[in-house]
Amino acid sequence: MIIIGERINGMFKDIAKAIRDKDSAVIQDWARKQEQNGARYLDINVGPGAADPVAAMKWLVEVTQEVTDLPLCLDSTKYDAIEAGLKICKRPAMINSVPAEAPKMERVFSMAAEYGAEVICLAMNEEGIPKDAESRVALAMELVATADAFGVPIDSLYIDPLVLPCNVAQDHGPEVLETLRQIKLISDPPPKTVVGLSNVSQGTKNRELINRTFAVMAMANGLDAAIADACDDELMAAVATARILLNMDIYCDSYIDVFKKG
């Protein structure tokens, strides 16, 4: 499993302020820090408060690319902002995200095909997030079949089964894990899977413990990526260890450092 660093997001006050002030140092600092700690993609989200999301996205992409070669994950509900970012990304990027709703899928999958982008697909539709695994998988299937029809390679899709906070939706936990497993049965090669890891601990105490425990459980069920705090050392160590235990990396004594250095 790989980590998509979540920190360049306008929801964080320092990032929102940096966007307003055009203070590239703050953004670049976070980009470097996340990369050094093992992030393989960087999520870029202008946040809810940005005055001009398109311009803000372009600026964030530009300043981030000045200091890192990591691919970017363009995170917005405004597809114009994503498209503006895709145009200037130096490496194939990831679109974050699209639900199983026909008009949105059309827009996003044609964009993905055009720019060779990967896509995070949400297992939800107009009716919201289903509870049971079967319905989540059915939505995943719909996303995959539609992407396939648009010519987007299935292994460039990341299905997000949608994780809910464990203090309010405890019963979703096992369903999400089961969904992760079943998504691998959709096709060959199968789509990849992703979760927004910090959702699981939203509003709880022990956030970091819950995050990393869920991360390793999800990995055991086939999780490929998580949008998460790459600067959480305990989380990164747990992920590196789970990769060893799942025989995804070859063991050596310095395996945690190796994982971080990629």
Partner: protein, 442 residues
Amino acid sequence: MGLTGLEIYKHLPKTNCKECGAPTCLAFAMALASGKASLDACPYVSEEAKAALDSAAAPPIKLVKLGAGEHQLELGDETELFRHDKRFFHPTGVAVLISDTEDAAAKASAFDELEFDRVGLHYVTDVVAVKCDSGDGAKFKAAVEAVAAKTAKAMILLCEDPALLEGALNAVADRKPLLYAATADNYEKMVELAKAKGCPLAVRGKNLDELAELVEKIVALGYKELVLDSGARDTSKVLADLTQIRRLAVRKRFRPFGYPTIAFATKEDPLEEVVQAGVYLSKYASIVVLKAAKKEQLLPLLTWRQNLFTDPQKPIAVEPKLYAVGEVNENSPVYCTTNFSLTYFIVEGEVENSRIPSYILSVDTGGISVLTAYADNKFTGEIIAKAMKDADLDSKVKHRKIVIPGYVAVLKGALEEASGWEVMVGPREASGIPKFAKENFA
């Protein structure tokens, strides 16, 4: 892996009529892929979809049998691309080629003697291939009969004229030889012949595309005891084709390639031919055919086959007993180690390097290495003492000294007590043995 949801979905009517109980065809496809529904629940599914589902349950590569009786060979039924992922199951058949224009009987008798003993194992050259180069049915038949009379091993008959082949085949049909080969030009007749005699049939295309096409035609005629040849003869191309056939069969369940394969070494120089055959043996050929037929040429190839097809999960063992290295006498030093073959052979090599004739006592640890065996209590003072007794060491040497591996120095006390011998602690690594020997026994 069975069929995926998407593949199943492609075979469904996509009407979302809900008669199967699932809300959509998509949901039904997923339920099927995860084994929670049965195809019968959809009344509208096509015959084609049913056939596709059935074949997904079959192994990726069919098991095909060559020959009859005690020399029968099982080919194919492999599941891996790399031996470390699990293991390779059915060792490549090594076939020696005899032409009907040479002295077939003489070469066949020589072939029959190509059996070897090394490190307690018996290696056999298992297949003889007789080729019709003369274009003369009577000559071919005579050659096939001569070979059959000299060896009982499995046979391949190489002749692409079904009429000529039939004559020779009638003489040895009960040996169930592999018929080589069905091509685009002769496949109908060849299939008839193979079916009638119950023999496996090799299929040769001009390339992978034509091969796949031909296999489908032959399967449509109702015959599946097949062995594949992509037609390539250049080393690099054969390697690529054999790799693709194996990969597509195992990873993509591509049915036309779900059969064993045959490859031909083509070099004129027998040494080059062995190396070329080795490449094909390494990378997936189920049978390799070569002309080289001398002992020194086949032994290396058969050894590589034996090594490649061992089970990587299962440590290989040498027979636990007392081995003599060099011209030993009653004063020769005695080393002990486990019967894990790699450990044993390394120790043996270094003892040889020491140039001091010695005994090595290989203790039965179930074929595991020194440290693992020690940790598992399979290499203890008592066990070693018992092995010494079983090997009758007391009568083999006059002295009462035994060398144990440096890693298990802690066993010294226990072994001295159990055996009454003086225990010397050897070097930790076998590479230290020559020096150790020089210092202590020279």
